[in-house]
Symmetry: C2
């Protein structure tokens, strides 16, 4: 154990920062045995010095920017968050000084990853972001190193624990979205402003990062099409159950003939697919590599301790001098890829129509689908209530999304269809 | 791309060797971009030079020992197999020369891992064995690096694809063990001598390796208690289904108050547990870390291409100079751990008794369980057939294994019990 300690400066001592300090303290001996050197917190920055954390002799800053510029450290751990502002300033300052950075900040990586990776390459620093996707699951390491022998064709995942908790609870308790969201907010599982989670923005950030790693393209949040879970109803969850599916918010990135598609949307996954069984706050990532086939990595996607586990995994790599280009290949080798145009996707679909229960309705629906060459698989219609509004639920075989959209527009226009049709993709790998 | 090529010598050009050559050829450009240097096969050894493999200019040896001693290479890839013999000779020869080794050979690592790791440390070589456990799943990397911030409390998995295929097929088709095994042999999924797989020996090798990584103890196959799947009956699989479980062959290593337990046995896992949904030839490993909580890694546990993916992951680490001590810490820091004594385990159990259907039988059974303080959870007894032999199936709450064993011995001795009782542990994490 002759090597010098790894000197760590931590910016942000909130949930994840606190968890990281606790982990480094609790496992100090174990980490030193594994790294061949000690990991020492030499500086930290927060609005006020917290009394409850084992910060020892660490120099305390109220100004994170000053710490990033002035403190003597090998690695800056950025746990403040936000795509820009202080986080971006201090990460840039550290990298400019040739100091490595470890961050859990998916928004910053999704927006500025390429710029930061280029800066890190220039100054010989490492930029680690294992904690930015999938909490404690070592998914970045798996994609960049463990599956490095593969050309990846598709990567998808359940990437937001709040959404998965809401969808799981809606199903288990048969409750409505708004009701479960309000409870999740009360319990602290969802933010007061939940939009970032439930509208899919957080999932989109993470997917942009996974897509960059999988397809060696510059990380670009703008190309991710994004739909959240506000529209998912208890009714659709019940029908999904009946048909043998679960509804999950997925981030999906895949190679298609038309280019790379990167999309976030609630999808139905069959019970035979591993993601169907990932419940509550757990996250999971499925990767399809050309040699390895399908792999699935599952674990806790958030929380102080799981996220700290990922932060420390990056620190251990740096301590042992295990390095990998930020996005798997040098920045100059990241290549723009055409984005698959909307509608080029092929998938199976679930459709729910609310129709007036009168003669001839079903013939009209069937005619529209036939005209668009959409082929029905299962149909559920029950509880005849003449001239009432009743649900008609169908699944259709794999079809062009564009054709499906045309069919839905025409179905919506039928006189007997009372509400906008509800369309959910069926997804598997 | 100024770094010198990584010079690779491959010993064994069977299924995995062939797959590795194919991968290195097919992905040459991708690998070079990721590694910053080319990966070049400069030598190979097999009984005869295969015509169908893209071996280019590689020097061909019929004598693997001569190749290991004489060829100019940076890494020897050992894909011959067997705990001793040629495999051990050539790996030793390479490490003695200070050349790194990548192997898929779980038997050799389980039997000689510590000796080989010590030799590698002495000569500054790397010993990579990602392919030895879980096929293409990057499980060694996850345990050694991705979860390096954690103290692991338990690691368990479905580690043998042949057994999982047999158990899955028995369940899906309601067929008997012998019948499905015979078919698996015909299809090439099971060996002519299937003992290595179905008696749990292969799983034990892999578990010994995982336990060493998880608990920083010397790898030691002798301490693994091992029970295979020959006794698993179609009847028990049917009852498992009815009770909400799946039967899986598990390798389980865990810290207990009495020491580390390492055991292989068929277990019932509840449907709420991820391993219940790992079917066919897929493998999966569940790890419980003190900070990260539960993680699950799933993928193809065998086959030419998935295993080649893992071999190449190790080669990429060596090409990029990413090194880790063989078992996570230097050999001198691996510490012997007390083995938990048999019977100290606590778990829930499934018991099936075949009893003569006569008055008073159930009272006798209940009395035995009460005397041993074993608490019943569910009971299934149906189809009254006076004085015929009928199954009585029970699950019991978590109990000391020793007490359960005493109860089973006493149940077996009851006059009305016609066959040895069948006992299966219920396992979750």
């Amino acid at each position: 154990m002759s090597a010098a300690p790894l000197k760590i400066a931590i910016a942000g001592l909130g949930t994840v920062g606190g968890g990281t300090v606790e982990l480094l303290h609790a496992q100090a001996e174990l980490l030193a045995a594994r790294a061949g050197r000690t990991l020492a917190v030499v500086a930290c920055a927060a609005l006020a010095r917290p009394d409850h954390l084992p910060l020892g002799e660490a120099r305390f800053f109220t100004d994170a920017r000053a710490m990033a510029r002035e403190a003597e450290y090998d690695v800056l751990v950025e746990l403040i968050g936000g795509a820009d502002g202080i986080a971006l300033d201090i990460v840039t300052a550290a990298l400019e000084r040739g100091r490595s950075v470890v961050t859990a900040n998916k928004a910053m990586i999704a927006h500025h990853g390429v710029t930061l990776a280029r800066l890190a390459e220039k100054t010989g620093a490492v930029l680690g972001f294992e904690a930015s996707v999938g909490g404690g699951i070592p998914v970045i390491k798996a994609l960049r190193e463990g599956l490095a022998g593969n050309r990846v064709n598709r990567v998808m995942g359940i990437l937001n624990g709040t959404c998965n908790y809401i969808l799981t609870t809606m199903r288990e308790q048969g409750r409505d979205f708004a009701d479960v969201l309000a409870e999740a907010q009360k319990l602290g599982y969802a933010e007061a402003d939940p939009s970032f989670d439930i509208d899919g923005v957080d999932t989109a950030h993470k997917l942009a990062i996974l897509a960059s790693l999988a397809f060696a393209m510059p990380v670009d949040i703008k190309r991710v099409a994004c739909e959240g879970i506000r529209h998912v109803s208890a009714l659709d969850i019940r029908y999904a159950d009946e048909l043998g599916y679960r509804i999950k918010l997925l981030g999906v990135a895949g190679r298609t003939e038309a280019g790379i598609e990167t999309r976030v949307y609630p999808a139905m996954v069959p019970l035979s697919f591993p993601l169907a069984h990932v419940n509550g706050v757990f996250n999971a990532v499925v990767t399809e590599g050309d040699f390895v086939g399908r792999t699935v990595l599952e674990g806790r996607g958030a929380g102080a301790h799981p996220t700290a586990s990922a932060v420390v995994a990056d620190l251990m790599d740096i301590a042992r001098n295990r390095t990998t280009p930020t996005f798997g290949v040098p920045v100059e080798r990241l290549a723009e890829q055409p984005a698959a145009p909307a509608g080029s996707h092929r998938s199976a679909f679930y459709i729910r129509l609310m129709v007036r229960d009168e003669p001839g309705v079903f013939a009209d629906i069937a005619a529209v689908l036939r005209d668009e060459r959409v082929s029905m698989e299962q149909v559920i219609q029950r509880g005849r209530s003449p001239s009432e509004i009743v649900p008609v639920v169908m699944t259709v075989h794999e079809t062009d999304e564009a054709a499906m959209m045309r069919a839905v527009d025409r179905l919506a226009a039928l006189a007997s269809v009372a509400e906008p049709p509800r369309l959910i993709r069926i997804e598997a790998l």
